[in-house]
Amino acid sequence: MSDKKVATSPDDRTVIGITFGNSNSSVAHTVDDKAEVIANEDGDRQIPTILSYVDGEEYYGQQAKNFLVRNPKNTAAYFRDFLGKDFKSIDPTHNHASAHPEDANGAVTFTVKDKEGEDAEPSKLSVDEVAARFFRRLVGSASDYLGKKITSAVITVPTNFSDKQKSALIAAATAADVEVLQLISEPVAAALAYDARPDTEVKDKIVVVADLGGTRSDVTVLASRSGMYTVLATAHDYEFHGAALDKVLMDHFAKEFLKKNPKSDPRENARSLAKLKLESESTKKALSIGANASFSVESLADGIDFASTINRLRYEMIARGVFEGITRLVSSVIKKAGLDVLDIDEVILSGGTSHTPRIASNLAAVFPESTAIQSPSTSATAVNPSELQARGAALQASLIEMYEAEDIDQSTHAAVTTVPHITNAIGVVSRSPSGEDVFIPIVQPETAVPTRRTVFVPAPKDGGDVLVRIVEGNTHIKVTQPAPKAAAANGGSRAAKVEDADDSDADESDSEEEEDDDEEKREKVWKIGATVAEAAIRGVKKGGKVEVTINVNADLSVIVTTREVGGKGGVRGVISA
């Protein structure tokens, strides 16, 4: 992937997983196959991606973030997304309250005073240099924690990172003396962090990973097929994110402050604004944990102290627009993937903003009950969403640390990763007690080939000869209309319902049509398609079971092996591609 690498032989490696985010970064390592996020010197596990220079002294993380109030000019923040980009194509919105990005022949630079002395010349630092310095601090604190020098890392990147951005990131890490073993995409790292938990069985499932960060939200639909992930659709949003929630709280408290002190608006003074933002963010975090949170800033504006409280209900009301935006974003990606909410087996909430309980409950309302929503407020076993990606990266790092760099490059080469995926499900036809043919899927759609799956289907009670019919299958959503009378009653009471829909159920307010759907019964049904092959198993014992194994080769030819469980021989046949 990159031209120059700090190659380290597999034996001398000390590996970590790094999540280098636009707002926060974290670092994880593995202990006995379990990933653990490393705390830095300040005890932070989420380290703000900020560098600040005061009197030639470099600060990073939370300390640097606190300098946003007193020393914004020499503080570089939110620079991850600028890596490998032209000045023309960057969005500097979030850098308003810190060092501003500047144009240097198209490259993005920050001008900060990073040397000691009153009259020291401010230096122009390219964004690559800033990232390299930040990496050095990040890796340095991890090295201190582990007591060993970190040599190599797996780093997560958003799915829409271009090759240029990726190589800029690798260059920055290399400049910080870290060998980049692999770049993995953030949603996959999150999914891996869940699937790598002990006693998680490998299932075929469709997963939605909603990565809700500080300055952007990325939603990805993944097909997880026997532990291999394929991205089906992605969406990126730069409107509904953590900073938008901060903004809502900032406005709320600023208005409250104005009510008491009509003359001074804290939003008109840069320092007051920075204080307001910092406190709003911690209030937001407090609201994710408790039902009430306090907000207090000393000398918010014109030397006036300000203290207030807010409860969660109020917060959810004022931030409704953002929450709904996130829900809409998730729904739109599922549509983009050509799927229905019923197809989704799991929703993983990742990123700091995912701590917000309302976002999870809104999503739970959209999806059927069978869909597992993995977030701290909906599932007791959920992993801390802020740590997911770093954990996933650390797990991947521990998996590949014993391989030579060349081996890794070869294994991640497009020739290995790009493979055909089957379009329709392949399954076996069985009979329900009422005599209907029912499709039992063996290989799910969107499964990468080559693949191998096995199912066990009981034979009829009396045994005897049985027919194994291998068919293709499709799903469709069966909508059962409610009785007309119920519909009329519903129509009459709609007006009343809309009024109190405010904070009861975001799903309902999505659209009028959705509301009607509430009463409908929607279910996913398998439809039997074309027959692919038939096979016979003769003389199955009473109460016996039939094992059907399907092997789809890389050229889409299929090998069907079927036999009675515990029986000898069996039938094996090949369906040419």
Binding site: S185, M228, L399, V416, V419, A448, V457
Partner: protein
């Protein structure tokens, strides 16, 4: 759900070759080439299969084999040494003098034994020598060896005490080779083992290897530099005299402590001296150092010789040049002399030739009887000879020679006259002689 569903019974009359009937094909859609995310253990398995072109069952088999091998290796590394009856009879009170590794059956590994191995060895020994077990098998309830095991584990599992023990573990020492051993010629192997054993005390790792006679100069220098500046963690606390821990005699306690500290210091100094001597001995016999020195000398000599050769060559060249110059000058001089002489001779020859030719010319007119019939008058002779003289004076020696050649041999007067006439005509035409001047030969 599957439990209520069953596989349908075979319809009547269904038959196929080998009970299998392919009917359709699975839907192929080339648009569904997608990229798998290269992440996770299952992808690794996929990549392994794809790169080695294995099928699922082949891969399963190979993986199973590899796993099986690992288990075997683990078993092999398990500790099973025969127990020395002398060891079993040891008194636990004398733990300071026991060989902890031997007690646990790890004498093969010693300082190389991992913590895991020690734990495993301890467990194994405990299972065999636990007092309860001994009692059960009817032996005496003597748990002294069990205590030895416990003490050995206690010492070896604590990194501090383990280092103290390793520092004085004589069994791990490798004696420097004697002269007699070295005469057999495996110098590098014998000394290499010595330093490998000494390297266990190093605070910095990796320790440079001793190498062999092919090692580069840098490697050898790095080796000796490292060892002459060796930073050792070796301590001699283990050999301390027991400090009385009763509070009664504080002076005695302090005295012992001081004695111990001094002894440690002394031993440490001795150890450093020992290592230094080891290195001196080794480097004294190291052929590589000699060779490098020779090579360095040879390089220096080579430079000097080259310089001298160059100087000599320059001197030679100068002398040769001088000689050549001299020879050339001499030659030129001689040549000039010869030329001068030759010129003189030629001039004389030419003079004689001219004289001879003139004689021929004169003779020719005489032969032609001065172009008159009968005896020629003196005036005629004078006129003719005057013309001949004139012609001779007007033409250069080559023309005289040519004329002489034409005239030579001619006896008939007319022919001679014709030649003369021609010559005179030519001269007149050339404007060398005026017609009037010629009196007879026209």
């Amino acid at each position: 759900m599957i439990s209520t569903l069953t596989i349908p019974a075979l319809p009547e009359g269904w038959a196929a070759e080998k009970d299998f009937k392919p009917i359709g094909k699975i839907t192929k859609d080339h648009a569904t080439q997608r990229t798998i995310e290269p992440v996770g253990p299952h992808f690794l398995a996929h990549a392994r299969r794809a790169r080695h072109k294995r099928t699922f069952s082949e891969d399963d088999r190979i993986q199973a084999q590899e796993r099986a091998k690992k288990v075997e290796e683990n078993d092999e590394s398990d500790i099973s040494e025969p127990e020395d009856p002398m060891l079993l009879a040891r008194d636990a009170k004398d733990w300071k003098n026991q060989d902890h590794y031997k007690v646990l059956g790890l004498s093969k590994f010693r300082y190389k034994a991992t913590e895991e191995q020690i734990k495993r060895a301890h467990r194994k020994k405990v299972l065999r020598h636990h007092p309860d077990k001994r009692a059960a098998t009817g032996k005496t309830e003597d748990d002294s060896f069990f205590k030895c095991i416990q003490k050995a584990t206690e010492v070896l599992l604590d990194p501090v005490t383990r280092r103290q023990f390793d520092s004085v573990d004589e069994e791990a020492e490798v004696e420097p080779p004697t002269k007699k051993q070295l005469t057999k010629g495996n110098f590098y192997k014998l000394w290499g083992n010595v330093f490998k054993a000494e390297a266990r005390f190093s605070k910095t790792h990796p320790v440079p290897l001793f190498g062999d006679n092919k090692s580069s100069k840098e490697d050898v220098e790095a080796f000796y530099n490292f060892w002459y500046n060796f930073d050792s963690w070796r301590t001699f606390e283990y050999l301390d005299e027991d400090v009385p821990d009763d509070n009664e005699n504080r002076d005695q306690k302090r005295h012992t402590e001081r004695k111990n500290a001094n002894a440690r210091k002394k031993k440490k100094v001795e150890d450093n001296a020992r290592l230094r001597k080891l290195l001196d001995d080794c480097s004294a016999g190291d052929e590589r150092i000699k060779r490098f020195r020779q090579e360095a000398n040879a390089a220096k000599n080579k430079k000097r010789l080259e310089r001298e050769a160059a100087e000599k060559k320059a001197a030679d060249d100068a002398a040769a040049k001088k000689a050549a110059d001299e020879a050339a000058a001499k030659e030129a001089e001689e040549k000039a002399k010869v030329d001068r002489e030759a010129g003189k001779k030629a001039k004389e020859a030419a003079k004689t030739a001219v004289k001879k030719n003139k004689r021929v010319l004169r003779g020719s007119v005489k032969d032609a009887n001065y172009f008159v019939a009968g005896d020629a008058s003196a005036a005629t002779i004078d006129a003719v000879l005057g013309d001949v003289e004139l012609v001779q004076a007007k033409v250069d020696p080559e023309e005289i020679a040519a004329l002489a050649a034409k005239l030579n041999g001619l006896k008939v007067a007319d022919e001679i006259k014709a030649v003369w006439k021609e010559e005179v005509g030519r001269l007149v035409a050339a404007g060398k002689v005026k017609e009037a001047e010629i009196k007879a030969l026209n």
